[in-house]
């Protein structure tokens, strides 16, 4: 499940291609239709991963459990409804179990969160945005071996969440509301999203700051105890 970042990279490239096609070729405003395509491409790593080789049963369960925790974590913060630690949990998972796993947890939890709380044309954008943000944050942090530096993790994770997820999720509103794809109207829609995205990013940073090590240690313990997410082929 690890060390195969090219799959996610291909998926991301296809998503971008779809967005670009929508923006420049189908100029008579079919941007919306592009959503469907994005959803399709975001699923690609899933399909390829599970088709390519057998994932250990325990790895599969851990992905599922982490995604469920990411969604259920809303319940933890029921007293602080603005706090949604989904992104942070997906990033932490990716830090210790590989960016592809993080990507999958992000995509899966965002999808199910939409499934439970109502879907719409924004669903693909949010899914893609979440997978993208988590993946990029994890790649950066793992590349520079910053997993255990809580400040670095909080800053990078928070920024990725704020910038990448924010822009991707808001582009749905851009396509829907901005009357024309001109910089002025696009930026006005994006600007209205900033306060919300900023708070989302800040929350992600805070949760990462406090939970990165506690959860990370537990994930590491599982990996060591049961020999999971290692590079060798499964037994």
């Amino acid at each position: 499940m690890q060390r195969k970042p090219y799959l996610a990279a291909v998926s991301l490239a296809l998503c971008f291609a779809a967005v670009m096609t929508g923006a420049f070729l189908l100029r008579d405003r079919s941007y919306y239709l592009i959503s469907g395509l994005i959803l399709l491409f975001a699923c690609l790593p899933f399909a390829a991963l599970f088709r390519r080789r057998r994932v250990k049963v325990r790895e599969l369960v851990i992905v599922s459990v982490m995604a469920a925790i990411a969604v259920a974590s809303r319940a933890a913060f029921y007293m602080l409804p603005t706090v949604k630690p989904l992104c942070a949990i997906a990033i932490i998972t990716g830090l210790y179990l590989g960016e592809e796993t993080g990507f999958m947890v992000g995509v899966l939890s965002m999808f199910l969160s939409n499934f439970l709380f109502g879907q719409g044309a924004w669903t693909p954008y949010q899914i893609f945005g979440m997978g993208f943000a988590v993946f990029v944050a994890d790649v950066i942090l793992r590349r520079f071996h910053l997993q255990e530096k809580r400040i670095a993790v909080a800053v990078v994770g928070g920024l990725c969440c704020f910038m990448l997820y924010g822009i991707c999720a808001d582009s749905c509103a851009v396509f829907a509301i901005a009357p024309t794809l001109e910089w002025k109207s696009v930026s006005s829609v994006l600007l209205t999203g900033i306060p919300f995205n900023l708070s989302h990013g800040a929350v992600t940073a805070i949760v990462l700051f406090f939970l990165n090590r506690p959860i990370g240690e537990k994930l590491e313990r599982m990996c060591v105890k049961y020999d999971l997410f290692t590079e060798g082929e499964p037994a």
Partner: protein, 286 residues
Amino acid sequence: MRSAFTKSHPVLNFLFFGSVVAFGMVFFHPVFLGVSFVAALAYSVRLRGRGTLRLMRYLLPTLLVVVFLGAAFNHYGVTTLFVLPNGNRVTLEAIVHSFATGGMVLTVFLWFTCYDAVVTSDKFLHVFGRVFPTGALLISMTLRFIPLLTRRMHKIFEGQKGIGYSGSKLRNALHALSILVTWSLENAVDVSDSMKSRGYGLRGRTSYTRFLWTRRDILLCAAILALDALTVAGVIVGQTRAMYNPFISLPAITPFSYVLYVGYALLCFMPLALDLTEEHKWNRSR
């Protein structure tokens, strides 16, 4: 409520929603927009009743805001209605265009409310499972864990409170989340044992389904595909185009236009018609 469409085969549901949402996202032509909007609203009200009406209370003002913003910031168009104090023109074209944009968003939104009501998780998993069996299983498992973990979360809050752990709201929540992670990860081993002992991982996994094809499902699928083809033909000949900038221009109305309108209406109203026919038959049979 008896809903014939809800009880149809999931593939039929997906085909229908795929069609109307895709068309709904690209059509700007007022007739097509109107037909789709009315159909979506009617079906949503039938499925969700008061829920949809309550939703409309929020959506309609939003639509007006979008129209207002569109009209205030866009100054293209040839028909000036009046001039704002700052010298900007408010044009008929910009208003109509904003209306169409807002209407489109609203229509797609309404179709999604219908989708939520019709396509339950097992229907989704049936279709998705055909393509990605493992992915579908992963989703099914996660759907099982979410309520379980949510309940555990509340137990953890209670347990910690009962032995005197108290901090700020944020600290409490983070603390509880950390406990939940340990608990659930350790349980993951038992979960995978249960899967392994029932043969998970053997070659050639199949997937069980409760859904069976009926003749009606097949006929309806064929009908949807035919109507899709008709509508796409309309797109190709340019009958669905609409321009609002710089002036409003719609394609000329020909006899084929009427065929297209009727065909699109048949498509959009299909589930509602199906439901009403079945309900009528059922009432008569009593």
